[in-house]
């Protein structure tokens, strides 16, 4: 097994203390076990060469300088959800940020929080709720780092209608750059507090992350401020039970509905009207097949085999779950009236879940962003595809196209039969009408069909281009820039120049970003061969 040089190990111990450096294989395997969004036949990725646990940005800075000195690549890790949270190749140093776990500031009036990397969304949300606020939680769930999804990764959230998208909720940032220098972006850089992330002058957030985040390729983010959003329900609700048996206290100004549309087009029409009318707290497409598969996967396998039941289930394909929320009864009454008017106009079906026994459980699940974790239940694994951030008509086009593509793989037993539609997503940011539709696919990797799964991802990427559906999750795979860069105004060359300027010693894991401009030509020539 490859090990760090004794000299580097010693220097790391001097910086961090012996207890915060390790190259114990059993411990390192913890970082290498990454089943999420990993479609290979095994749940393991590369094992890091060693792991370090810094406590401060200055310690992170010293680690980076040692990586430069000893020419060792590094990979930062906050809560580390999914395969890109670990090293992409052997020999990398794992910079585990779990000791940086403080909510430094929670500003109730200006509605933002300053957090360190290991503050997970559930912690932040629980503290924010006490002040009548909540945070954006990505679909991966409340266990994920609020900082990671805002600074370095992507992820849509079930409450995007009222809480936006992580990358757009970012304010001030503290960034230990790959050259070992510390930069504070925005207002904290001018000692003006954490409330603003753009300027003075050009917005460096545009270099730092874009849509997808650089997944650790451009250094380590050690603090950031994220916007918080109004939360009108009980500040510290009493909750009983776990998961399916959860019963949360809910006020009467919280309402939950299911809406069912007869077609993709009608579902899009409903969504546009819903957003533009400025009602609603959350909205989320929840196709019936997906709903069943996450809730009762074993029963669903039997259900899908029955033609009549299947036809009934398919009729509920364009189903969405939406909530209304306010401090004011008047407002919720008005919103419900408008909702019913839109439903009537678009000829959809509305089911008032607030009046069913499932309400207190589904409300909590919706509020905490729990459903994605349940996607593991059917076969132990899932992957995702399509899902570019686009206008909602295009998002529905993605659901339609994906349905056909995925069905072939369901027919060949590569994926579980979910009626070929786990297209979740919705509009974000209130009236904005942009959103996403992300197509999940569930499988059991013990079937050994990694090649077919890769083939599906390739096909989903090809159809993304064919049907003009934006650069989304299907186009983020390692090396995707080789295909898409030349088609998209050579964006990869601009990123490669950024890589060279910002990471001159190439210590950042570039797998989910691009190599430096100096290497690109060589790689492209090799590709042509």
């Amino acid at each position: 097994m490859e090990k760090l040089s004794k000299e580097m190990y010693k220097e790391l111990e001097n910086v961090l203390g012996k207890e915060n450096v390790s190259q114990e294989p059993a411990l390192l395997d913890g970082y290498a076990w990454q089943p999420a969004l990993n479609v290979t036949n095994q749940k393991w990725i590369s094992r890091p060469i060693a792991a370090v646990l810094p406590k401060t940005p200055e310690e992170v800075q010293k680690i980076i300088k040692l990586c430069i000195k000893y020419n060792v690549k590094m990979k930062p890790h906050s809560t580390g959800w999914a395969a890109w949270g670990g090293p992409s190749e052997d020999g990398m140093l794992m910079v585990d940020l779990r000791r940086m776990n403080r909510i430094i500031e929670l500003n109730e009036k200006d509605k933002y929080a300053v957090v360190e990397p290991y503050v997970c969304c559930s912690q932040l949300q629980a503290e924010a709720m006490k002040k009548g606020l909540t945070c954006h939680i990505i679909g991966a769930g409340p266990n994920t780092s609020a900082l990671a999804s805002a600074t370095a990764a992507w992820g849509y959230g079930g409450s995007g209608l009222s809480t936006g998208f992580s990358g757009r909720n970012l304010l001030g940032v503290e960034w230990v750059m790959p050259d070992g220098e510390i930069l504070r972006i925005g207002s904290p850089g001018c000692d003006s507090g954490w409330f603003s992330g753009d300027g003075p002058g050009p917005g460096l957030r545009g270099i730092m992350r874009g849509f997808a985040g650089t997944q650790g390729s451009l250094g380590v983010f050690t603090k950031c401020a994220v916007k918080l959003f109004p939360y009108y329900a009980i500040k510290e609700p009493k909750v009983k039970g776990v998961l399916y048996n959860v019963r949360a206290e809910v006020t009467k100004t919280e309402k939950l509905f299911a809406v069912v549309a007869p077609s993709f087009k009608t579902y899009a029409d409903f969504t546009y009207k819903f957003g533009t009318s400025e009602i609603g707290h959350t909205i989320q497409r929840a196709p019936f097949g997906a709903f069943l598969h996450t809730m009762v996967p074993r029963a669903t396998e039997k259900f899908t085999g029955n033609k009549s039941l299947r036809a009934m289930g398919k009729a509920f394909q364009n189903m969405g779950m939406l909530s209304l929320s306010s401090e004011s009864e008047r407002e919720v009454e008005f919103q419900e009236k408008v909702l019913r008017e839109i439903v009537r106009e678009t000829r959809c079906i509305l089911i008032d879940i607030s009046k069913t026994p499932a309400f207190k459980f589904l409300w909590m699940m919706n509020h905490r962003s729990i459903p994605t974790a349940l996607t593991f239940r059917a076969g132990g694994d899932f992957t995702t595809s399509y899902g570019s951030p686009v206008e909602y008509d295009n998002a529905m086009l993605q659901a339609k196209v994906a349905q056909k593509v995925k069905q072939k793989y369901i027919d060949n037993d590569v994926f579980f039969d979910d009626f070929s539609d786990i297209g979740w997503g919705a509009i974000n940011e209130g009236t904005a009408t942009w959103g996403h539709c992300e197509i999940a696919a569930m499988y059991d990797r013990r079937d050994g069909k990694a090649d077919e799964r890769f083939q599906y991802l390739a096909e989903s990427a090809e159809t993304t281009v064919e049907y003009k559906m934006g650069v989304g999750l299907s186009n983020q795979a390692p090396g995707a820039w080789k295909i898409y860069g030349p088609q998209l105004y050579n964006y990869h060359l601009w990123q490669a120049r950024i890589k060279k300027e910002f990471d001159p010693h190439l210590i950042g894991d570039e797998e989910f970003y691009v190599p430096s401009i100096d290497e690109i030509d060589e790689i492209m020539a090799e590709e042509k061969k």
Partner: protein, 481 residues
């Protein structure tokens, strides 16, 4: 071939201006920034012209200064810092390329003004999120690129809003499209597939609209932009809440924003309110919260009614009183005025003839501290307090605010106003005001405070404009081309 001949080959002789009067007009700006006289003004007509100009500037080594708005320039970013520079006047590229009603987006060339765009979008039942009372001739694209605050904080999710995507030529001469506009597919193909270039993020791990925004023309030249629009209300009501102090007004505004109830929401002192409405200051309260509520497509009257009642309840709690008429001012008319472009004479110039704007970002809660500083400074300089306008604009749902002091001055007060502007700017910066848009003389003062940011901005400049041809000498960048 000479430079002028090369330029003529690109844009045509008829699109090159060398009249002394025109060139001299670029030498100074209304905020007392003075620089060099440009060599000429060129008017490109399309993307190709712009690209060829940038390529020529790289080849021959001269500076280019993009300029999109018409009329007097105020902030100084189009005043050449170096000799031999060429002004790229984009005001004749003024097509509204597309308005997408369903997705609420417009695509505009640099020369489109707020007056022009507003007329078009209103016909479609939409409206623009625009700065308060933009001056006549102000380019929509220039305003977007300058990150100017808009009047409805609830629609302002992120600092980049309402800017979406850009088509541009970088300082290297390369053409690029940012955000979703990058593709796959041509614009026409994207439109046919339901897209409207509304998302600024991307492609992949970049968001270069954000880098171009705030760069004062130092990274490249934009040839169109898409702008996020909102639905035009079916009915709207304006309200004013007056107060002699801001003690109760600020918590009231915070609470209204938390509930996302008002559309327009801002605070003015009596000086600015009088200047905008055209009335006498002495009849007005020291501070006024100005807000509007609206009824949209569905049940507009009912919407208006519940919002009005909810706000009334909040107002009672904070012991403030929203009214529709205040000492001769109609709140409806006031909201109408501030959500339209200004007429011929800029409102800030009406009272005294001149005005210097000192603005920065801060927290709404901190605004009284800054106001006290400015009031003291005005007194020290011996200027009347009736010359100090204050405009507070909550931004990004209220996570911060734009605080703007309008130092109005008459012909004899010019020197004092200038001195006040310099000393007050430094004091506000020292007190933690965040000068996110460091125009003119602020640049040196602001960038001294953040050397790490300067180091990184220079890397960015090196990527997108390695020869330094784009607006040399601005922000923290050198004058050398």
């Amino acid at each position: 071939m000479g430079k002028m001949e090369d330029l003529a080959n690109i844009v045509g002789k008829e699109h090159i201006k060398t009249d002394k009067e025109i060139l001299e007009s670029f030498k100074t700006s209304l905020n007392f920034i003075s620089g060099e006289v440009p060599e000429c003004v060129v008017e490109p007509q399309n993307l190709e012209d712009v690209q060829n100009l940038v390529r020529l500037a790289n080849e021959k080594g001269f500076g280019l200064i993009p300029c999109s708005s018409k009329g007097n320039h105020i902030k100084g970013d189009t005043v050449p810092s170096v000799s031999g520079a060429v002004i790229v006047d984009l005001s004749t590229m003024n097509k509204i390329i597309r308005i997408d009603k369903r997705n609420k987006v417009a695509m505009v060339e640099p020369g489109v003004t707020f007056e022009e765009l507003q007329a078009e979008v209103e016909e479609q039942g939409l409206r623009i999120e625009m700065p308060m009372l933009p001056r006549n001739g102000k380019s929509v694209l220039a305003s977007l690129l300058d990150r100017e605050p808009t009047t409805c904080p609830k629609y302002n999710w992120d600092a980049i809003d309402p800017l979406c995507c850009l088509e541009l030529i970088f300082g290297t001469g390369d053409m690029f499209r940012t955000g979703n506009a990058v593709g796959p597919g041509t614009l026409e193909e994207q439109w046919a597939a339901g897209q409207a270039q509304k998302v600024s993020m991307g492609p992949a791990q970049t968001e270069l609209s954000r880098v171009i925004q705030g760069s004062q023309g130092t990274m490249g030249i934009a040839t169109w932009a898409t702008i996020k629009l909102e639905q035009k209300p079916k009915i709207r009501q304006g309200y004013i809440v007056g107060g002699e102090t801001m003690d109760a007004l600020i918590p009231f505004v915070y609470k209204m924003l938390w509930r996302k109830l008002p559309d327009v929401c801002l605070i003015l002192n009596r000086v600015d309110l009088a200047a905008i409405y055209g009335c006498d200051q002495k009849d007005l309260p020291a501070w006024s919260v100005v807000y509007s509520i609206s009824g949209l497509e569905y049940l507009p009257e009912e919407r208006l009614s519940y919002i009005r009642k909810d706000i009334e309840e909040l107002a009672e709690k904070f012991q403030v009183k929203p009214v529709q008429h205040l000492n001769g001012i109609s709140a409806d008319k006031l909201v109408d005025i501030i959500t339209k472009p200004c007429g011929e004479t800029y409102w800030k110039h009406k009272p005294k003839g001149g005005c210097l704007d000192l603005f920065f970002l801060t927290s709404l809660e901190k605004t009284p501290e800054f106001i006290t500083i400015l009031e003291n400074e005005v007194e020290e300089q011996g200027l009347p307090k009736e010359n100090l306008g204050v405009y507070i604009q909550p931004i990004r749902h209220g996570t911060g605010c734009h605080l703007e002091f309008n130092l109005m001055y008459g012909p004899k007060q010019k020197t004092k106003a200038k001195a006040l502007f310099g000393s007050a700017s430094q004091k506000c910066l020292d007190m933690g005001g965040f000068f996110s848009r460091p125009h003119g003389s602020w640049a040196d003062m602001v960038y001294k405070k953040c050397p790490d940011t300067v180091r990184v901005l220079k890397k960015v400049k090196h990527i997108f404009d390695p020869k330094g041809i784009m607006n040399p000498g601005k922000l923290c960048f050198g004058k050398e081309v």
